[in-house]
Symmetry: C2
Subunit: 448 residues, 2 copies
Amino acid sequence: MPNTLYLPELREMLAEANEAELADFCTELHPARTAEFMEGLTAKEAWAVLHHAEVPLRVEIFGFFEENEQIEIIETQDRAEIAEFIGHLPPDDRVDLLAEVRPWIVEELMPLIPSDERRDIQRLSAYPEDTAGAVMTTEFARLSEDLPADRAVQEIGRQAEELETIYYLYVVDEEDHLRGLVSFRKLVSAMGRPDTRVGELMERDLLTVNVADDQEEVARKVAHYDLLAIPVVDDEHHMLGIITHDDVIDVVREEATEDAHRIAAVDPLEVGYLETDLLTLTWKRGIWLTVLFFGAMLTAMVLGKYELVIEQYAWLMLFIPLVISTGGNTGSQSATLIITALSTGDIALGDWWRVVRRELVMGLVLGGFLGIVGYFCALVAAPSYLAAAVIPLTLLLVIVTGTLLGSVLPLVFKRLGLDPAMMSSPFVAGLIDVLGIIIYMKVALSVL
Amino acid sequence: MPNTLYLPELREMLAEANEAELADFCTELHPARTAEFMEGLTAKEAWAVLHHAEVPLRVEIFGFFEENEQIEIIETQDRAEIAEFIGHLPPDDRVDLLAEVRPWIVEELMPLIPSDERRDIQRLSAYPEDTAGAVMTTEFARLSEDLPADRAVQEIGRQAEELETIYYLYVVDEEDHLRGLVSFRKLVSAMGRPDTRVGELMERDLLTVNVADDQEEVARKVAHYDLLAIPVVDDEHHMLGIITHDDVIDVVREEATEDAHRIAAVDPLEVGYLETDLLTLTWKRGIWLTVLFFGAMLTAMVLGKYELVIEQYAWLMLFIPLVISTGGNTGSQSATLIITALSTGDIALGDWWRVVRRELVMGLVLGGFLGIVGYFCALVAAPSYLAAAVIPLTLLLVIVTGTLLGSVLPLVFKRLGLDPAMMSSPFVAGLIDVLGIIIYMKVALSVL
């Protein structure tokens, strides 16, 4: 929520061109708080305030603005100034940002961006979305093996402000092949021994990711090994960039939200719920709702085939919602458990047989229990003890179908190289609806 | 998956007590890989191998073992050795670990743990689960304001191996009140100016969390501000500990998985899917499935009240699954969107009115569209153009009910201080089933 208390004062400072107070305002607080206090300023005002912060601080404060404010500033303020400023932004962030800026403005800005930075932007934007290449930053600390440790510390101290992280230092050869890694901590603890060289301190057995790897895979590695950053290399092991812990948190959160949306049959939103415009949101929901609608029509058609059976045994109709929702809920549970376990790496495709056995056992136990409960409920409506047996038998079969389909379908999707979360609960539930009705009617026909 | 290729060689080294090769094995690879190569060894063998690594490395390798292996080693190996080893483990990890060890073994171990560490364990285990206190570690770098920057760097270099992170340094006064923070980066870049004191470099406007804050809140802050670590303070602003980025990734993942499970009506699992025993898993699913079962029985009872209507207009029965599943799916979508947006902080309770308006509009648009589609489907089965109008009217009302209930219920739960994810899709869907049937029958009665 914007904190508007400070806005009048800020505007006054700007009107009076009160350099000293504006500079104080920029430096006194945590950059994140400074950004919060500035919410509500126009793009022009915000940019004027930022002029009073030195470049590294300006970059930091700007980084805490909401994305739409950032875009407005970039689109509306002096092109030459903005282009130079973009040159200072973290390489990964500016590529994401420029992707949202109107293309004709990007075209105007690009020639004004310093050439090294421009090439870097072009290189990074070429990587496909959701790959390591698209998430990485290209600013990291490079060292050579034969540098003495104490000189390395001084060297890094000098570059510190430019780099996204100085805490892992990468050792490369002349062709930029990644040879090893030294943590800054190790370097500092070796400062007492002046002859020690970087090569003696570095770890050679490295965890790396390939530039084409999926970001989910990257997040899993960084989380599993508790890393601050992971180096990104190409097929020839050239060092291309790093992915840092804060980007990994964003990826983990993004992927988890995407999974949750897919599980609920919503096409994943790219931005927050309130930022997504209504048309997009309606489309992202409507498309899947329509698909599921036709699934339900299929259930209606199947039911139509058995209309005569139900007219004959009217009490069977009462249990249609029960059969459908119990099957659907069981399937949802299994599908969600398997989808989340696949995401977190708890299970792999190789575990499919263990998963199927477990789900079969659970289906039998849950189906047996709810079958017994269902039998007593059915006795109220059914004409005889035997007729009531239709309900427990149906429930047992439907629940086992639910656990098996719910667990197997996400695994099959994963095997096919598709997102297992696409085989989301409503789809599983829809499929089990149709199967549930068929099972129900077949059981009824054979018992009655 | 365990890599068993190396096991015979490892066992041979142990049998021959080949000190040199075992020490090489421990140091040559990344500790995470060393741990992977050791999978499959017995607790006794693993502990014997670890003897050949120096303590800090031993702690690291041990940290990458699976939890059940860690517990087995702690429970079965020499008590005095284990107790001393526990003294070296990261404070937050060892508390989590001891919580899983059999209580009588913990009782035997505790008196053998060095007293400082023992008190630390007792203090940390006192914090309620899922609070900042329970996640934090107590090993962080403390500095005083008047220490010169270059002395501070040397000081930290000396302590480096003991600390979980040396990259944020906390400045405290004599009573341990948190006064400020210096990043190691800043300290290093000030080394050239020998008179600079820590107090001049430190930031005074800090982001902190209270020891009683919920871990979800902590994760949100660290993620939003891209921090490496966040300090944990008590109500008097005493510095108690820090929470580091790697723990935050775990929290984000844990909370997302919990949400997903709740959304699918599974009581959240404490460990991975395959590690959860079948009985627990069946219970965690069965209990909610039973609750939902009785919800569905309610639907059956409601349907029973209208049995005569349906006997008179048999074609209405065909559309029962359609009405139920469309309402349920719409409700699921809304509930999941709102639950995930609340989790990631995209929406707050104060936004409820905007949310309700958006969901109402979406409900009308989606309901209008699917109503039109439904009308044409209904024409096939219904006896007249007028009679078929029951279906679009019902769909419109059910879908609007779905979007409104699906969005409002999680908000109400949040307002009541409950987990909004408890108001999960199956519950919303179950509720809409009952309402859907009532709406369907009321509409049918008034049209026909």
